[in-house]
Symmetry: C2
Subunit: 296 residues, 2 copies
């Protein structure tokens, strides 16, 4: 999305990194605190006519919390920048906040401050602080580690397709209210040797390539083992969508892709491949560069 050249984000990040300490992860660590920041903007990260105010609030906070989940950390607090349009009412704002409160209550988070202001487009910028004794990065995958993913994927992009094409399907919920994996990230990090982890918020292909790049390893993935959301197969068939292409490029969903030398048997985890020397992501033996959903 967006008509900025595809490589500008990479160039901007390179420019920002120069002379600076930047982790290459979405999360920084300062004095033992995990810190991450994320924005969602009307028309870029969400189509306002598809979303209720509650769903916008939920998704904004979920997206930031997911970065802490991907470190195997526990979120503690957040700061909110809230840009409101001139026709947003107090009632709208209450709904937006209500969408965030669900996550606040679930994770015992607290809102510690922020800024509200007028804006030509609705947006939320959220900074989350968290903690972990042993945060997981994207760069620690080792040769012969196994590659796992939580949950199942593909629903967000198919949900967006349903919304855009006015198809009444329960699949829409995967786009409007994607689940996050805070407890699972923490649990995995506490109980197993997790060598690297990332959420797939930019889509499986983009984020698996991030993990490969940051770890300087090759990821070998079997497409048949990728867990696909239960309704996706039928939905893809009914709507003549390329199932695997859609699943691999679905963004805005927050399952965790991770590597570990351990044999992990958990009902919310699927084994999908293994790490090797080399570089890049191989799906069924074929090198597969990043493509898919970007906000840039």
């Amino acid at each position: 999305m967006g008509n900025i050249p595809f490589d500008l984000e990479r160039l901007v990040i390179q420019t920002l990194r120069k002379k600076r300490s930047w982790l290459g992860d979405d999360v920084a660590i300062e004095k033992g605190q995990l810190l991450t920041t994320d924005s969602i903007i009307e028309g870029v990260h969400f189509t306002p006519s598809f979303f209720s105010y509650e769903e916008i609030g939920y998704k904004a906070l979920a997206s930031a919390l997911s970065d802490i989940a991907a470190c195997g950390g526990k979120p503690l607090w957040y700061l909110l920048n809230l840009g409101l349009r001139s026709d947003d009412s107090l009632g709208d704002v209450k709904l937006l906040i209500h969408g965030m409160e669900e996550l606040e209550d679930k994770y015992s988070l607290k809102l510690i401050g922020g800024d509200t202001f007028h804006s030509p487009v609705l947006f939320l910028s959220i900074t989350v602080g968290g903690e972990s004794d042993n945060p997981v990065s994207r760069s620690g995958a080792k040769s012969s580690d196994l590659i796992y993913i939580t949950g199942n994927i593909g629903g967000s992009k198919m949900g967006l397709y349903a919304l855009e094409n006015k198809i009444d399907s329960p699949i829409k919920k995967y786009h409007l209210r994607p689940g996050i994996r805070c407890e699972e990230g923490l649990y995995l990090n506490s109980n197993y040797n997790i060598t690297s982890m990332i959420d797939i918020s930019d889509g499986f292909l983009i984020d698996s390539n991030h993990l490969a790049d940051e770890s300087k390893k090759g990821l070998n993935i079997e497409s048949a083992k990728i867990p696909i959301c239960p309704e996706c197969m039928d939905f893809a068939k009914q709507n003549s969508l390329d199932l695997m292409e859609t699943v691999l490029t679905s963004g805005e969903e927050f399952e965790l892709l991770f590597t570990s030398p351990d044999d992990i048997q958990e009902d919310f985890v699927s084994l999908i491949g293994s790490v090797s020397e080399g570089e890049g992501v191989y799906i069924d033996g074929k090198i597969t560069p990043p493509r898919g959903y970007r906000h840039f």
Copy 2:
């Protein structure tokens, strides 16, 4: 600015505060870290045709740093959310970053992370972390404390007037590159008993009322003692502006308004009044409610 009802920000903040820990300051404290977040948006916080990219970068970071200065703290790091329009080039982004680098270098700050994305309007949301052994709040003013202010004020609004009316005057710099008082805030807090402090980024009248409200005290200010920017008197006369009204309602400048029982003799500080029991801000004995510049 903005056509949202004037009281909506207050209502939003009340709604956000319910059930939450919110300091009433622009800065929160978590595990000994000072945390603040601030946004600037094209068309709301700045008129893009007036500003160079460097000035936008400078002002965005300056504005967030000033909140740490107002706690008497030392800024340490920041996180950046950067929304870029489709026609912003890498060269533009480099200039924007250059404007921030000046402040990074001056205060030995580091950029520890962030997010860049496409946006219909240029905006920056910045979270700053800092430290202080004894952070100053807005709520500690005591009866018979003296009221002080750093530097001199009024230049930002007159600078904006010059820009809007295409008047070629050096006064424009006060709007485009307002100074911040990080060293001074830290110095004052280290060397004197500072009971409350705030920056006047919303304008003298709004922020002095904030200080009075949060401290539950009355502020008695002598208008003749308010230090006015050197070029302001001539500029107001030449352009038939009400000098005192303009000075009191000038926003987007970052001088520090503070209270202390101490007799402070510093060349960058002016004594402008004293604190009493009661409530509200009295200028030359007359109660003066908040009015002026708001982004809401």
